[in-house]
Each structure stands twice: as structure tokens, then as C-alpha cells.
Symmetry: C2
């Protein structure tokens, strides 16, 4: 067995193409429906929000989609990202498991999000867009898009979920350092925001609300488009550079992944690492792979939601997609993993779970931070609160290996660092964080409001 | 000319040895003196504070000192660090200069400091030490030592300069996440701290004061030793991995450094990048190299201090070294680059400047942050406030190239990222930061108190 702890690929091994799992799925993805007519949406429906190239990717059935050279050029600043063997964590856990982590925190914005932000900014610039409008939860997506817009000379406007806006002032500072304008959502800048604040002046916001505000602004400005940081097919597509690299790096390590673990909010980092491996399974090239999606117990769309058509946003401005959802009106409690506070789940991730290709589990806020601290002390890297869920899932798998006396290979995606989230660690260590009760009543109410077909 | 933007060395190119410039300097470094007797210090004088291996390195005249394999093993997590060509910054400045930056922010603690922290923790562990006590300014050193102690199973106690303790709660959270205990300095935990607080209950602290407190605690505990993050010869030695890698990376880029720029507080990142290049000059292997040390105009030891024997700390517990100093009782104003708030300068850096091998210049707080924002927007990386001084110096050099119509190659050390310093960026963008007047009177008073020989 290889003694190395770091597996680095040369720049030439940055993938030339993104991997589109839709080409390999045995069932075609269910159609996306217009929010008004409930009929399958057309290019024309999406054109006010997205550039043509992105719309084409959203519905593409091609397996491999070329990455434009200017996008690869920027990827080169931090890609291929490193894969590490977590030898010190293995020792701390006294486990026979082989734990590998793909570390996306090396990007300048500190997470996997630039993989799609750079691509989206590129395509929008190429089609003459002047302003990109988006939402952000914890701020990882917002800061990534702010950076990408800057690189391509686009303006950037960001609606940041209010609870994160207050919890994470450093993330906002990063977006503003990159030149973006940031508003706490719900805001008084949009009609939907005003309506939400009229209903609940103290609203902590949600990704669903912030999406509504961003979509409203983008739709009303002919020079602007909308950008989404997760959920949609094209975003997941862009993230597959992660898994494609990890496949080669596991080969470098002389190993194969038995279990892949990633956290799921909208689903993009999960898809990014898992889909290229699942492609091998779907094409019959390998068997015996378990894929585990880890979600927060306070926002458990995959484990407690319905697999049904629902809106992507609170104000019902977005199309309807078939996905695991807790109901578009559900507002998750204000836990620190803001990137996981989304009522729905990427349709492709939902399908993969519904078809039994991946399983899902939940982790509480306290378990996630305990895992993050243990990981930080062993590996030196402080994961983001979102990534702590993945780390907790990997630790569970490693401890199961110990119980069973089996050495499995566990590959976990550490999707970003927690440098802008240290208040959460301070609160955790001071005993000020709590687990949120499962919000059963709120979820039941939101699910009761699901659109009927 | 090479079109690449990133120059990465394989793991095998992590240096096998540290480079000791004392072996190449034409004059032997002046002796270090005992604070009581004013006679050259002995091993026995230093033994209560440092392990034998470190004391040996402090006075070594060997050119190349082997890096222990366990230290290199840990370096492998992030070393060799990348060297980047700042093509987007060059375009933004419209300069004919070729700007390269060595980026040390890729370490898990986010700066160059682990290069020495890992080595110091290793040597202390090897000699049976249980607890390392240190001080930290901005927190880069403290968090690095906290991480390193963790890796080697040592306890870690940190005195953090009070102004930074208040300005940078995220840095403190990082140290605590790594398991260290952190006290604001001056504190009531030490005799020297109590005396300082009696004199000025509102003291913002200084590195000089925090060193006194850490030395006091270490000297009184037989299981404890003291660790310093800059200034001393062995710390500078450990940092030379930076410059040794950069030499090879400039070769990869098919270029030679005409100008090297780094910021100076205690001098360790400056020495780390510059000394291996200066070694070539000292050995007559190259000419035509300019080396520029950039210091904050509010704490200008190299440009406005005396080159004289002085204490390393405020309470005069440390030996006397010949260095550029503003006087050991000088308390710099509370600007945001806490790592540069030191009254003295590394003796070896002082000697190099005194002998004309390097020059020094100052940058104001506002110029440094303006440079940092410009760098962040162009390159995506947000530098630490300390590193902003280096970036400002590099931008000045690049603009000079433009004025003169000359394409020089500028190599700048971006010694760390600013993720834990975002409040400073927020304040800067809100117009809340100011330049500090040159503290002429305070410096004159402190210099008047220099020990006389």
C-alpha cells in the first residue's frame, strides 16, 4: 500500500469535459414543468433567466460536454485539487478503514463552488450579459460568483439569506472585497421580498426566498441573468471535475473507493464527487460501491421529504421539478450549515437516490461540529459547517469498519473550509450550539401545500 | 515565454535541507548577549527556553541543515507551495513587469508559519517537552503552533496581543479549535503582565509584551519550553524552504527574479523567500538582484530604527541582539497587520540590510489595503493584512516598470491569506481605516532607552 498522504495530478489532467450522468441513467430524467401551465418548459421559457449555452447544458443528453478553454485556464489556478489520505484521522479513530478526502477548499473562494461559478460567468459574458444576480446561503456560492464575475468583467448582485448574513459577516466581506453588492434576504428591494417581510418581519430567510428575490430582479432587467449555485443539472455537471479527478487520484493511490460520502444541501458537491463513480456503476464497469448523502437532521429532504414535483423557490417563480422536497414554503431553522438550508434537492440527485444508486442519512448539528473539530485536530484543515456533515458521515463509516473489523476505503468530499465560519466553532466549543428538534409540524404543513398533479 | 500561471513542483522537490545564510555572510553575525551580564550567551543560558537541537541551529555556521523526515512528511500536506504568475494583476496594472507570487496561504493554518512551527514542535517533542508556550500577534503564528503541537501531542499555551485578540476573534477560534489555550496579553497570569497592566490598564499589548509573558511562563515550568515565530536564526532557517522552492519554480517559469519583495515584521517570511536568492549573490553566482523589505509606516524598524543591541521583549527577559530596533518599550499603534507590530527585526535580516544586500521601504495602512483589494479582485486570493504590505511593494515596483518602460521580473511572497482578517477589509471598504501618523515622539522616547554599550 502506498505511503503517500497527498495525491496530486498534473495540470494536464484537469478534465477536458464535464460528465453528464443523464446520458447513463437507465430512466430519462422527468421533464421540468412551467410554473404557470404545468407543461414541459421550453428554451424560450428559460431564456430570460439563463444564457443559451447554459439552457442547452440543462437539457443535454450528451455524456461528455467540452469545458471551454478559458474556463480550464482559470481552473488551473487551483485544479486539480488534492486528494489526501487521512492517516492522522485514521490513527485518531483507530480504524482499519482507509479514509481519503478530496479537498475543494483550495480554491480561492474556499469551496467547490467556483467550478460552476467560473463556467456560468464565462457563458453569460460570452452572450453579452452585464449583471449576474444570485442568492447565497452560507456565502460560499455568492463569494465564488462574485470572484468569477470579477474575472470576466460582470457586475454581481447577491441576495444572502438573512440568518447567514448575520452569522457570517466575513463571508459578506469577501463578496464585497470582490466587488459584489450584497443584500440580506428577504429584502425590501423586491416585490416578493416585501411580501415575505409583510408576512414575517423577523424572517431569518431561506434559500427558497432568496432565489425568488434573485429571479425577480434578473427577470426584470434585460441586461441581467440569473445564476444558481446548486440544484440544476448544469451546476451538477460543472462539479463533475471533482469526481473525475478523484477517480484518477484513487488510481494513483492504488485503491478503489468502497464508500463515497458527501453532504447534500442542493446536491452539487455530492453530485460532483459521486456522479463520475456512479457512471462506472451505471455502465456496468464496476459494482460494490456505496454512495452516502449526508443531510442535516433539521432539513432532511432526502430522508423525510416527498419525491414529488415542487417549486424551487418560496414565491413560485421557478419551474417545477421532480425532486425530494420538504415543501417550498418550509423555512429551515437557523443552523450554521447555511448551504444545507434548502427545502428541495437536485432532481438528478433525487433520481439517483430514488433509484437506489445512493442512500441518504442525517447528522445533527452537534455531531457535525464534533466531527469537524476532530478532523481539524487530526488533519489541520477546518472544514466548513456543511462539509462537517460529510466528515461526520465518513467517521461513522470508519467506526463501522472498526466494529466489523473490515478495512474499507472511504472517499469523502471536504467541499470547503470553515475559515469564514469560525463563530460557529467558537459557539460549539462554548457549548452554545444545540441540536434542532426535527421540525415535524412545519414540514408537514409545507408538504401539505405541495402542488397536486 | 511560458504561458503557464501556476508552477508546481513534485513532492520530491521539497527541500532536504534548510539553508543557513550565516554560512555565506561575509561577516560573522554579532554575538547574542546575556540580558544580565551582557556577555555572549551560552547553551546553558538558553536551555531553559529551547531544546538542544534548536539551540544548535541558532548558532550553527553550517550552510545546509538536514530537515528531519517526520517534518518533511508533514510539509507534504501543502508543500511545495505554488508559485503563480499574476497575469490578471499585470493586465489590471497595464505593466510590462512579470509579477510572480509565491503563495504560502495554502498551508492548513493559512500562512508560512507552519514551516517553523512543525519543526519546533518536532524538536521539542523529541526532547520530552510537554507544553509549548508562545506569543502571537495577528494569530498566524499561534494557530500554526497550535496545529503543530496537536500533530505531535504537545499542549500549547498562547499569549495573543490584546488588540489582535479583539480584532481577530476568528483567529482565536482557530487556535482553540486546534486545542490551544489562548490569553489576551498583557494578562494577569504573569508577573510581567500584571506589571504592564498596573502601568497601563488599557494597554493594547505588543509582541514585545507577549514575548515577556510567554518566556516567563516557560521559564518557570520544567516541562515547558518557549517557541518564537520569527526573529531568531532558527526560525528564519526553517522558512528557507520557501525561497529554495521559489528558485526552482522561477527556473520552471524560464525566468529569473530581478526584484524580490516581502513584508517584514520579525523578518521570517522575508528571510524565507530572500535568503536562498541572496545566498547566490553572496557566493558570487549571480548579480543584479534587488531585494525589498516592506514594513508598515507606523512601525518602521528597518527604515527609522537604530541598528543596535536591544532586548527582544518589553520586560527584558530575553537576550540582547544586534538588530534594527525602535526600542523595546515602543508599543506600536493598533493597525491591522498585527504580525508586523514588533519593535525589532531579525538580527540576520538587520545584518543583510545593514550590509546593503537588501533595501527597506514603508507602506501605509491604507496603501496596503488598497493593494490587497486590487490583488484580490485580480487574482481571487485575499492576502492577509501583513502580506498586503508586500503586495503594495510589488505593485509599486510594477508601476515603476511601466513608467520606465522596462519589463522586470518581480517575485513577491504572499505569506498568508486574509480569511481571518475580513473585519479589516470591511472597515477599509467602509472608509473606517486610517493611516497612523508616524509615532515620532514614542519612538524617540523608546530609542532613548536603548541599552548603552
Amino acid at each position: 500500500m502506498n505511503k503517500q498522504i497527498k495525491f496530486l495530478l498534473p495540470e494536464s489532467e484537469i478534465p477536458q469535459t464535464w460528465y453528464n450522468i443523464a446520458a447513463d441513467l437507465h430512466q430519462a430524467p422527468p421533464p421540468v414543468l412551467h410554473p404557470g401551465t404545468h407543461q414541459p418548459i421550453t428554451h424560450a421559457d428559460l431564456a430570460p433567466l439563463f444564457p443559451e449555452a447554459i439552457i442547452a447544458q440543462e437539457v443535454s443528453m450528451e455524456r461528455n460536454i467540452a469545458i471551454p478553454e478559458p474556463v480550464r485556464e482559470i481552473y488551473k489556478q487551483w485544479r486539480p485539487s488534492p486528494l489526501f489520505r487521512a492517516r492522522r484521522l485514521e490513527r485518531a479513530l483507530d480504524t482499519p478503514a482507509r479514509i481519503y478526502y478530496k479537498y475543494e477548499g483550495v480554491s480561492p473562494a474556499g469551496s467547490h463552488k467556483p467550478n460552476s461559478a467560473i463556467a456560468q460567468a464565462y457563458y453569460n459574458k460570452a452572450e453579452g450579459v452585464k449583471l449576474l444576480v444570485t442568492e447565497t446561503g452560507a456565502g460560499q456560492w455568492g463569494s465564488s460568483l462574485a470572484m468569477a464575475c470579477n474575472f470576466f468583467g460582470l457586475d454581481c448582485k447577491i441576495f444572502m439569506v438573512r440568518v447567514s448574513y448575520n452569522q457570517k459577516p466575513y463571508r459578506r466581506a469577501l463578496m464585497e472585497t470582490f466587488g459584489a453588492t450584497v443584500s440580506a434576504s428577504p429584502s425590501h428591494e423586491t416585490a416578493v421580498g416585501c411580501a415575505m417581510l409583510a408576512k414575517d418581519p423577523d424572517s431569518t430567510g431561506s434559500l427558497g426566498m432568496a432565489i425568488s428575490e434573485a429571479v425577480e430582479v434578473a427577470a426584470q432587467n434585460p441586461d441581467a441573468k440569473y445564476a444558481l449555485g446548486s440544484v440544476l443539472n448544469h451546476v451538477l455537471l460543472h462539479q463533475t471535475v471533482i469526481g473525475q479527478e478523484a477517480l484518477k487520484q484513487m488510481e494513483m493511490a492504488g485503491d478503489t473507493a468502497d464508500v463515497i460520502v458527501a453532504c447534500t444541501g442542493g446536491g452539487s458537491n455530492f453530485a460532483g464527487i459521486a456522479f463520475p463513480f456512479l457512471g462506472q456503476v451505471l455502465r456496468g464497469e464496476r459494482t460494490g460501491l456505496r454512495v452516502v448523502a449526508v443531510e442535516p437532521s433539521a432539513c432532511p429532504s432526502l430522508t423525510r421529504g416527498h419525491y414529488a414535483y415542487d417549486y424551487g423557490d418560496t414565491a413560485h417563480l421557478t419551474p417545477l421539478t421532480k425532486m425530494h422536497t420538504l415543501g417550498s414554503t418550509f423555512v429551515p431553522p437557523g443552523f450554521h450549515a447555511g448551504g444545507l438550508r434548502y427545502h428541495g434537492m437536485a432532481p438528478l440527485v433525487s433520481q439517483v437516490v430514488a433509484e437506489g444508486l445512493a442512500e441518504a442519512t442525517t447528522v445533527s448539528q452537534l455531531e457535525s461540529f464534533a466531527a469537524g473539530v476532530q478532523f481539524a485536530r487530526a488533519e489541520g484543515i477546518v472544514p466548513a459547517p456543511e462539509a462537517n456533515h460529510a466528515v461526520a458521515g465518513a467517521i461513522r463509516e470508519a467506526l463501522r469498519c472498526k466494529e466489523e473489523g473490515i478495512s474499507r476505503s472511504i472517499l469523502v468530499n471536504v467541499s470547503g473550509h470553515g475559515h469564514f465560519d469560525m463563530q460557529a466553532y467558537t459557539d460549539f466549543m462554548a457549548g452554545k450550539l444545540s441540536n434542532y428538534d426535527y421540525p415535524a409540524e412545519e414540514i408537514a404543513m409545507a408538504l401539505a401545500g405541495l402542488p397536486q398533479f
